[in-house]
Symmetry: C2
Subunit: 199 residues, 2 copies
């Protein structure tokens, strides 16, 4: 099972750099999702990470296709209110483009529009989605059956919940708080990596 | 003297569409600067304007080079915290890229980095820059002398201030409130157009 770390838009640039440099070897992807930062800040963060040895292939840029393009990063993630995936893929079919979805219907549309993966959730109650009810976990199974592209799941996922999600058909887990709010991100990622690797 | 209308991030999408469709024939450029909108909203706005007959050559997209690319619009404007102009021009030298500057030094750096124009201000007290002192108007003259690229000026510009700015060497005026907060945007733009055309 794939492991994606998703940044939480809560850290200083220095802290974020430091956490990512510690954990990058233990995850498949790091999604840079810093919604309140400027284009220049996201660009600078990406550039510094690459300069420090983080593999471009592991980095996914959320929303800002232009930043990804300038950094020569092919992995992009399109949020629900982001650019249309069919247009992004038409622009350059080399993009590996994920799309956030919240229902079976949205997942099917994303696949039809040439998304390379979907990110579905949120799976469990989480502070970042306070007040919104989580998905029915069984819906992961249903969506998985109808898709040929991978399904990543997100939202309140912790180490002990990974196996259950793999059983339901998820191809990957996307994790924010359990890594970036952990008192020891490296330790948390190592444990997650251990679980995912076996599934 | 060139006339650029700059959207003010204060209108509904419908109102914005309606104002731009009324005024577009009387301005040289319309800069879409809707900072609090999502990528999808800016993309949709641009697409609808083009579909309704606004010339692509008149549209300038602020900050989101990706949106400009998807719309096949070559004019982009980079705010102070935006992507580095030298990288944007390196990506595609066809971009006509403006840069916001606030000093003589920034203007020279922008030109060195291949900006196609600078946008300098703010010239006068304006609600959108409350608390920040305006520039010394004489600095326009100094900057103009040192640049070979056009200098647009912005900030609190009204019809009766255009001539003074032209005398100081400005090649264009960028106008937000006096158009988008006007009770009659078309009338205001026609008057501005009349002034600019003669200078």
């Amino acid at each position: 099972m794939k492991l994606m770390a998703v940044t939480d838009n809560q850290h200083s640039m220095e802290n974020l750099m430091s956490i990512i440099l510690k954990i990058h070897e233990y995850v498949d992807y790091i999604q840079i999702r810093e919604k309140s930062r400027t284009a220049n800040e996201v660009y600078t963060l990406g550039k510094r990470l690459i300069d420090e040895g983080v593999a471009k292939e592991k980095l996914i840029i959320n929303d800002r296709i232009d930043v990804a393009t300038l950094l020569n990063i092919k992995n992009v993630h399109l949020p629900g209110n982001g650019l249309p995936v069919e247009q992004v893929k038409k622009l350059n079919s080399q993009y590996f483009a994920g799309v956030s979805v919240h229902s079976q219907e949205e997942a099917q549309i994303a696949q039809k529009n040439k998304a390379d993966y979907v990110l579905y959730g949120h799976c469990f109650q989480t502070n970042s989605k306070k007040g919104k009810p989580p998905i029915e976990l069984q819906s992961i199974k249903k969506i998985k059956k109808q898709l040929s592209i991978p399904i990543f799941v997100i939202g309140g996922i912790t180490e002990d919940r990974v196996e259950q999600l793999a059983d339901l058909g998820a191809d990957g887990v996307a994790i924010m708080s359990a890594i970036f709010s952990s008192s020891n991100p490296l330790e948390s990622v190592k444990k997650l990596n251990e679980r995912c690797w076996r599934l």
